[in-house]
Every structure is written in structure tokens, then in C-alpha cells.
């Protein structure tokens, strides 16, 4: 049984962590049955775990970053480069979400940074509950950075708060500048939009301006960076963004405070 929530643990374990809605009864409805207004939040179970995770990160001064993109836009490649650049100065760990396989976690471990793989099975996204279990199995990088590479998918992960401090959405220039239009929620919820594979820009018709326009309609003031993990172009600005987030998060380190979440 797991300590976080008393569930049986393991994959696909389901819960009854819903808030108890204040339902009202209203007489009879069009189908001839009794009508009850439940007004129950479907995402409350996830939100409750996200609050716990966020509180855990706060007390440990951990900068948690949720990285979302479609498959193959360069999440793991960027993480590997980033870990190599910062590992000597900043404690870090990585949670890897994939439907199957341990491949990405192995790529991360090759840098010497610990990685935990969550296999989501049929599920197309990480949720706060899966992350809370992963956190029990690993050593939190106190006053450091926890990277969470979400399942490659630009749609579903956007709906699930993991308790992260910042959410980074990566879009590679080979995917087309219309993606913010087609998959708006991911961009609406992002703190930073990273346009990756900048080295390929000369070979594709990708308008950075148009992409930026669309993205700003969804999230006014959204930070946007253009980089190549392959050539290193734009990496400096990215690392500066990371360090600022890390410094801010580190300042909330209060391990002695009792857990309130």
C-alpha cells in the first residue's frame, strides 16, 4: 500500500479522492428519473495531488519543470544538454514519462544524473498522482531542479497540473507554426515556449513571427526562445531562464516546516 494515498499502488491503481460535492436534488427530469445536481469537479482528484507535490517542492526548494511537447520534438536531447551544462553546480533529477520503455531514462542516466522512468501504459499523459508515487521512490534534489519529461503528446498532458513550478512547451521548427492554433491548450498553459531544432530553420518554411503571434493570442506575454540543442545556438538564454527559476525556487527551502497540504 502506498504512503501518499493508501492506494494499492502499481499501474492503473484507481482512487476515490474526489471532493465531496454539495449536491442538490431537484425533482424529476426529461428521462423520468430523479434529478441531482452534483457540481463535482472532475479534475479535483488530480488537483489535490498537484497541491501536495507543489508543497513538497516548495519546502525542499526544488524547481520542478514540466516539459511538454509532441513526440520527437527534442525534449530528451535538450534535457541531456542541459544536465551536462549544469550538473556540476546544481543538484538535479529527472522523471521520464513514456507509454512504454526505459530508453529516455537510460539516456539521462548516461549523464550521471538520476532518472526515474514512469511507464504510463495506456495513458497518454502524466498526472499528479503518478508523479507523487515517483517522488516517493526517488531522492528529491533539494535546492535543485526536478525535470519532468511528460509523455510525447501536445494535447492531453496540458490538462493535468503536476504541481510543477514552471511548464515548458517545446515545439520544433519542423512541426509547423500553426501548432498553437491547432493545440491551443498546451500554449495557453505554458510559462515558456521553446522553439527547438533551430539549426533546421533554413530547410523548412517556419515563420517564427507567426508562431509567436498565435502563441501570444493564447497567452499574452508568453516567453519565447529559439534554440538548437544540436549546435548549442540559443542555449545560453535557455540556461539563464533555468537558473533564474532555480534561484527563485531555492529561496523557498524550509525543510523544517510541517507539511500542510
Amino acid at each position: 500500500m502506498c504512503a501518499t494515498c493508501g492506494c494499492g499502488g502499481g499501474e492503473g491503481a484507481r482512487h476515490e479522492h474526489h471532493s465531496h460535492p454539495h449536491a442538490q436534488e431537484h425533482g424529476h427530469g426529461p428521462e423520468g428519473g430523479r434529478v441531482i445536481d452534483l457540481e463535482a469537479d472532475l479534475l479535483e482528484a488530480n488537483a489535490a495531488f498537484a497541491r501536495r507535490n507543489r508543497e513538497l517542492f516548495r519546502r525542499n526548494g526544488v524547481f520542478a519543470v514540466n516539459v511538454i511537447s509532441s513526440p520527437g520534438s527534442g525534449k530528451t536531447t535538450l534535457l541531456v544538454r542541459t544536465l551536462e551544462a549544469l550538473r556540476d553546480r546544481i543538484p538535479m533529477a529527472v522523471i521520464e514519462g513514456d507509454q512504454q520503455s526505459d530508453l529516455d531514462a537510460e539516456r539521462i542516466r548516461a549523464t550521471g544524473v538520476p532518472a526515474l522512468q514512469i511507464q504510463t501504459g495506456k495513458s497518454c499523459h502524466l498526472d499528479a498522482h503518478a508523479v507523487s508515487h515517483a517522488l516517493e521512490e526517488m531522492t528529491l534534489p533539494g535546492r535543485g531542479i526536478l525535470w519532468i519529461e511528460n509523455v510525447g503528446n501536445l494535447i492531453c498532458p496540458a490538462l493535468f497540473d503536476l504541481g510543477e513550478g514552471k511548464r515548458v512547451v517545446i515545439l520544433s521548427v519542423t512541426e509547423g507554426e500553426d501548432k498553437p492554433r491547432k493545440y491551443p491548450e498546451a500554449f495557453h498553459g505554458a510559462d515558456l515556449l521553446l522553439l527547438s531544432k533551430r539549426d533546421l530553420l533554413p530547410y523548412v518554411d517556419f515563420s517564427v513571427d507567426q508562431c509567436s503571434d498565435f502563441a501570444h493570442r493564447l497567452r499574452p506575454g508568453l516567453d519565447l526562445l529559439l534554440l538548437s540543442a544540436k549546435t548549442g545556438q540559443g542555449m545560453e538564454e535557455w540556461l539563464r531562464w533555468v537558473e533564474e527559476g532555480w534561484l527563485r525556487a531555492k529561496a523557498s527551502y524550509r525543510p523544517e516546516e510541517p507539511v500542510v497540504a
Binding site: G32, L42, L159, R181, E185
Partner: protein, 113 residues
């Protein structure tokens, strides 16, 4: 694809609530969907059929009711409702909208026996 896990949550809530409200069967379920929820109605109805099979909600009708979000315009300060993401301010046409209430994703009315 997350529609299936959402529908599993719906069925869990319906089963939980059946003990408090003493019903044995659910005939109709209303889902209140805000613009951020990104659920695809057809996929939701299909997934609900799968998730409710063999439960007290098997055969229930799933009604999807869009609920607008509330936002304030950063350019003209006018407040209003937004039905979808990337909508312009109805007063001045600006896209610089700050969302205050996202409409959520809620189970609304249910009809039961």
C-alpha cells in the same frame, strides 16, 4: 485520449454518490465543459460508453454542455465571457485577455432511479 481516464473518474464519482443519494441506476449525465478542458465530444461519448459498461451508469446519456470562461482584457479593461481559446476581446478586438475563471470540467446534473 485522456477522455477515457476522465470518463473513469465520472463513473467513480457516480458510484460514490450512489451511496449518499441512494440510486441504483443513472439515466443521464450532464458534463459542464469550459474552453480549457479540451475534451472532444465524440470521443467523450465513446469513452463514456466504454467506461460505464457493467456499471450503474451503463446506457446513460452523456450531455455535454459548454460553459464559458471569464476573462478581462488587458487593453481596454472590459470583462466578459470567452467561449474558446484565442478569442478576441468583444469590445476592442485585442487578444491580450487575462483569464480569471476557466470554466472547469464538472459533472453537473444527473438523472437517476
Amino acid at each position: 485520449m485522456h477522455e477515457l481516464s476522465l470518463c473513469q473518474s465520472i463513473v467513480e464519482i457516480l458510484e460514490e454518490q450512489s451511496r449518499r443519494h441512494h440510486y441504483r441506476r443513472v439515466r443521464r449525465v450532464e458534463l459542464r465543459v469550459g474552453p480549457r478542458a479540451m475534451v472532444e465530444p465524440a470521443s467523450m461519448v465513446f469513452s463514456f460508453g466504454v467506461a460505464s459498461r457493467g456499471t450503474l451508469a451503463e446506457g446513460a446519456a452523456l450531455e455535454i454542455r459548454p460553459v464559458p470562461a471569464r476573462a478581462v482584457c488587458l487593453d481596454c479593461s472590459c470583462e466578459g465571457e470567452v467561449a474558446k481559446l484565442a478569442e478576441a476581446c468583444s469590445n476592442c478586438g485585442s487578444y491580450r485577455l487575462l483569464w480569471e475563471e476557466d470554466g472547469g470540467l464538472r459533472l453537473g446534473e444527473i438523472e437517476v432511479d
